[in-house]
Assembly symmetry: C2
Homo-oligomer: 373 residues x 2
Amino acid sequence: MIPFNKPYKSGKELLFIEDAIQRGKISGNGYYTMACHEFFEARYGFNKCLLTTSCTDALEMAAILINIGPGDEVIMPSFTFVSTANAFVLRGAKIVFTDSMEDHPNMDESLIESLITEKTKAIIVVHYAGMACDMTSIMRIANQHDIFVVEDAAQAVDSFHIDENGIRRPLGGMGHLGAMSFHETKNIISGEGGMLIINDERFIERAEIIWEKGTNRSSFFRGEVDKYGWVDIGSSFLMSELNAAYLFAQLLELEVIQKIRIEQFLEYQGFFKARSDLKTPNIPHHATLNGHMFFLLAGSLKERTEILNDLRELGLHAVFHYLSLHRSPVQSMNHDGRALVNSDRYTDQLFRLPIYPELPYSKVRKILEGYFN
Amino acid sequence: MIPFNKPYKSGKELLFIEDAIQRGKISGNGYYTMACHEFFEARYGFNKCLLTTSCTDALEMAAILINIGPGDEVIMPSFTFVSTANAFVLRGAKIVFTDSMEDHPNMDESLIESLITEKTKAIIVVHYAGMACDMTSIMRIANQHDIFVVEDAAQAVDSFHIDENGIRRPLGGMGHLGAMSFHETKNIISGEGGMLIINDERFIERAEIIWEKGTNRSSFFRGEVDKYGWVDIGSSFLMSELNAAYLFAQLLELEVIQKIRIEQFLEYQGFFKARSDLKTPNIPHHATLNGHMFFLLAGSLKERTEILNDLRELGLHAVFHYLSLHRSPVQSMNHDGRALVNSDRYTDQLFRLPIYPELPYSKVRKILEGYFN
């Protein structure tokens, strides 16, 4: 059986973890955390990065930073992982779900403006499969209405948005805040883990406080205050050095990993474009590829179920994902009744094929050739 | 310089981490997570355990489980770490701080009843230095008023409460819910990490859901539902297998670690009892020792500052901790004005000496003998 995912190993992870242990600090905010922060800040020009225990937690930090409270509304796609919504529901927000595009799971930016009310505090953008949403339009709408943009860039490491002038900006680096995931299912991993990206520098000082359990511990260690105490709400958001060491080993191999994954994506795409019965991903013109995910659309839920079962019998583990959040038991009562047909279509018809550096692609190809002919 | 803390290494940590990586699963809820759960459930008879990214997060799970919402009141000591309060403030609770005992930093249970109102939802017990609060009295009060008890057992691994009939119960195992820490400063460590202990079985099913980001993923993997979705609020509370593997290596050495730490505690205690100028810990009659922390009281803030500076010059790193939370910038406006004199006294006068397996005790002893004579 070819598994759906296999966490990448560069070979240096254990060495770096051993070094972290030798350094005598395996809690957070140590040598490897700083090394990872510096890597991201230098490579992508992110203003400030903070490693977290998960992308979920980075989104929770974002919700705290923009002061989400009961009654506030946030707009986000319905076709996304539960954490996109949970992080804001935990702070009391009302989620206003919007539909995906007809030809891509990303949110349809043309629907956003009609959903904005006086209570709207933020738009949560999800770059599905690491492919950019239309950030030019979304940032313009947000700025016009003076609301925040948080980029859920969970899947979007090393991917870019290209604007009409050809300027490339890294995903996670355009909204006021961004969140990335290093869960073992992602391109670059730390086990469980994530990162908050702080683009708007008004948030930097408070972000450090919230990250450190609501204390001014960072100021204390910089000698700015003589003892540290409880100054704000917060949580234990720090990633352990064990995970940061693992992550740093992966970051050193980033280009190798990305190259292989993008090649696999293009292989899949070429294969399926030559066979017309399944819809292949439409890559938005403002998006680059990061090879995070290859997805297809079956003609119906029934067809998808058959395909997944058949492939599994042939030794290939393919999966579907996301159930429209506006129809979930926890949120359906709060939804205003708008039909989100594209979101529901992806819920029923989208599925994903394995994509990771150790994937035996020639075996996969043989299975696919036998099945889709 | 003798450091205040040195994270313990059993020698097997790296081996187990390597094994976790080889098993191909470094996200949460894998082999080592289950091994740790089984260890705690078997050794202490805990009903159900769930490893979390921190003790803070375990407390946040507890706050969600008992449905803390705006307006609810929770009673807790003021002399504690910020996370005890943060976890409940994040859910909207009003914190009602209570004083410590005259002869111990633990909360004074005789003050609790007068603080209970119709809005009181829970008492948060903190077993300071791993020494039991009077759980017989506290559980009786809680049961009479039908409110929950959450044990913040961050420091309390392998420590017990002994009731009037001589029955020993593990700390964290008596309240409706308990939370433990495996931060590198604790006896048994995972880097960053913690654990929720679910004693009241009404909470077990929902705890698994909240732990898995508000999804019924655990039911899905047990075959109880055919797909999993968003059914409740939640977060990404799972500890990575890298940390769980580290933790499991430590658990296998638990008895060795505890023995050394308790010996060090008793050495310190013997040393200072023979010198009458500093107050040594008064161990409550219902408490056992777990050697987590050795603390002393100076006569004043000025004296404490002198002692800590002098010891540092002599090569020994001793530290103070906790600033009364009711006087913190974030909560002082909400406090009702009651004077919490014991909490403030510990804030000014309490300090801690290093205690950990690798501590060179004979060197420490020489420094102490030269200084306190």
